[in-house]
Symmetry: none
Subunit: 245 residues, 2 copies
Amino acid sequence: MSAEIRIVLVNTSHPGNIGGVARAMKNMKFSELHLVEPKKFPHIEADNRASGATDILEHAVVHETLEQAIADCHLVVGTSARGRHIPWPVVDPRELSSIVSSAGDKKIAVVFGREDRGLTNEELHLCHHHVHIPSNPDFSSLNLAAAVQVITYELRMAGLYREQAEEHKPQWGTDWDIDLAESADLERLFAHLEETLIDIDFLDPENPRQLMARLRRLYLRSVPDKVEVNILRGILTAMQKQLKD
Amino acid sequence: MSAEIRIVLVNTSHPGNIGGVARAMKNMKFSELHLVEPKKFPHIEADNRASGATDILEHAVVHETLEQAIADCHLVVGTSARGRHIPWPVVDPRELSSIVSSAGDKKIAVVFGREDRGLTNEELHLCHHHVHIPSNPDFSSLNLAAAVQVITYELRMAGLYREQAEEHKPQWGTDWDIDLAESADLERLFAHLEETLIDIDFLDPENPRQLMARLRRLYLRSVPDKVEVNILRGILTAMQKQLKD
């Protein structure tokens, strides 16, 4: 049970940007694109920028008004720069994702405005929330595809984190190929290491200082797997063999 | 006290993408761009796509090799698709941001590969961690500027949240007593290690298999400090001395 999310673009001037948005959406596994009065659509520049996401353009729904595009949605969120004349509940993209995560199987629209002027106040007032991407105040002009990329990335992350919630995710990622070393393996490694360091006169048993502690810390920090421990012990054995020969 | 973050682009084919990256960076208030062997740079298409972020292009540093571009960095993170032949510690952009947040005033490089082929295995093996943007498995081809947009957005969010929270969750601890090793220190360590392993007949240069890759991964994962690197090199030197005596 998860939300159905549509991306709504209002009055886009450049068809290339619509293509860029389609690509950004598909990268993050979203597919529902709604267009309100696009200046030029369909258009070859949209197809070119979409590069592989033209299926999203083919299924895009074109509307005459924003009201129509969002009519059946339960939650409408408009993208906005800060400092509108009447304050609205403003969330950042992460807060938006958490709202969407907890929305269950609702229909949700995220609405993006014109390249140059964004959404009008009237359009923003159709929205339940506004979302603001906290970009550099001195250079906040994200292009349309970049803004959609950031928002859809956050929505996808929220979905993935929710899926993983029950599942233990090891430090190195789930696809590590070797079993981790057990503590006893590591203790044998450290004993072998200490013995070898004495053999090569690197460690003075009369004055060991913090050498072994530092080495333990270094190796333990990386949480070695069994093959790695075997390699290290193989190196120590090879060294000891050289000393005997 | 916060990390100094550089974006490194390796062998970029299209100058327009370099401009798009500059714009994405400036949107999220980053400015340090390093380029390794760009095909065409400087270039008018880079300036056009940067639209307002040409200052970043003007200050971009061009290098001949990735090693040079990261030599003074304490933490190097390479962007990677999943499924490399030898698994490396993989984080998502949010986990990366949390690592960076806790790093204090370190120098950090985030490295992006070629448009078509990403980073080579050799380049990925120079990195402490890999970062993977969890895009749609069926359509994962984020363009370069979009990938930089997502990563820099996460890094900026982490910075903003940190400012709000005034609280750190340090990985190494803010009170780590020793400076972290720089990439160049680590490369000298690995060269010394390889040499010694050949000396003790553990590594066969005719058939090296994945030995050095596995050892690099083990040590890089723990992000060693300078004293730890000195200890390891001291051990190698002691071994070599024993062989000569």
